[in-house]
């Protein structure tokens, strides 16, 4: 009788173990054609620059939140009266990698400046125009 009882306890244990193993072995996967989604950011707009000077114009601005790989800013300049753009000159030409530049060869006139954040081939929205600065007076 004692041996039979031991045998049955063993049978019960085996059955329970088989159930647990069967549940644990179930694998699952996701349906064919399933997809998740990623999204690209919008590059921040430029902050309004400040322009100052009567011969060399110093243009400065607050950095935009461009993420860790910001590459710089493009500086633009417009005639304050007509709004017509002109070509920016040294050293504000090209990609400015700081938040300040000096246009040392600005022609006489009254000008307003803007900046455009750049990140590789991306451009942020152009900033509002600075207050006017007059060169040559």
């Amino acid at each position: 009788m004692r041996n039979r009882t031991v045998l049955l306890v063993g049978l019960l244990s085996t059955g329970t173990l088989a159930t647990a193993n069967a549940f644990g072995a179930w694998q699952s996967t996701t349906a064919i054609g399933s997809a998740g989604r990623s999204a690209a950011m919008i590059l921040a707009a430029g902050n309004t620059p400040v322009a100052a000077g009567t011969t060399n114009v110093t243009v400065s601005w607050t950095a935009s939140d461009l993420g860790p790989s910001a590459t710089g800013y493009e500086v633009r300049v417009y005639d304050a009266a007509s709004g017509t753009p002109r070509t920016i000159t040294t050293a504000c030409a090209g990609l400015v990698t700081t938040t300040r530049c000096i246009e040392a060869t600005a022609p006489n006139g009254t000008w307003r400046y803007t900046i455009i954040p750049r990140q590789h081939s991306w451009s942020g929205a152009e900033s509002p125009r600075s207050d006017p600065v007059t060169v040559g007076t």
């Binding site: 085996t14 069967a22 690209a40 590059l43 451009s123």
Partner: protein
């Protein structure tokens, strides 16, 4: 003696029943083609639905997230632990931002749980999506659906 024999016989029947249940469950498969008791149904695959997560991609960034919800119609919870090599990304505007500008990589060590008979809250797998350094300006604000397959097990 008679009392002991009855106890032993009852235990034997219980043990056999448990064992049979184990065998029956073991025959089920996740593809839904296995056999089981009609009252319990069979295992089915979990559905993934794209959801909107953080807009974190920009040129040269390689740690973007992919977001989705999981719908599990099985009567048991499932925990997914890995994402196999994802498929091609499909841009929401392939003209302004061609698909080739976004890629994704596989990832293991996940713990994404979807409860029985339910749809999960939005979930994300982090740091698996990248954008090409020369991605055009037209990629700003675009979304990308990325084919993915998750593998896991009942939990």
């Amino acid at each position: 003696m008679i009392r002991k024999r009855n106890i032993v016989t009852g235990a034997a029947i219980a043990g056999a029943a448990v064992l049979a249940a184990g065998i029956a469950y073991a025959a089920w498969s996740s593809s839904g083609t296995g056999s089981g008791r009609a009252s319990s149904g069979s295992a089915v695959v979990v559905t993934v639905s794209a959801s909107t997560g953080p807009a974190d991609l920009y040129p040269g960034f390689t740690a973007g997230d992919v977001s989705f919800t999981l719908t599990n119609t099985n009567p048991y919870a499932v925990t997914f632990t890995s994402m196999t090599t994802p498929g091609t990304a499909v841009s929401s505007d392939p003209t302004a931002c061609p698909n080739v500008n976004v890629t994704a990589v596989a990832k293991a060590g996940l713990s994404l749980v979807v409860e029985a008979n339910s749809t999960s809250e939005p979930l994300s797998i982090t740091d698996v999506v990248g954008m090409a350094t020369d991605a055009p300006d037209g990629c700003q604000a675009k979304t990308f659906d990325i084919g993915l397959t998750l593998t896991g097990a009942q939990s």
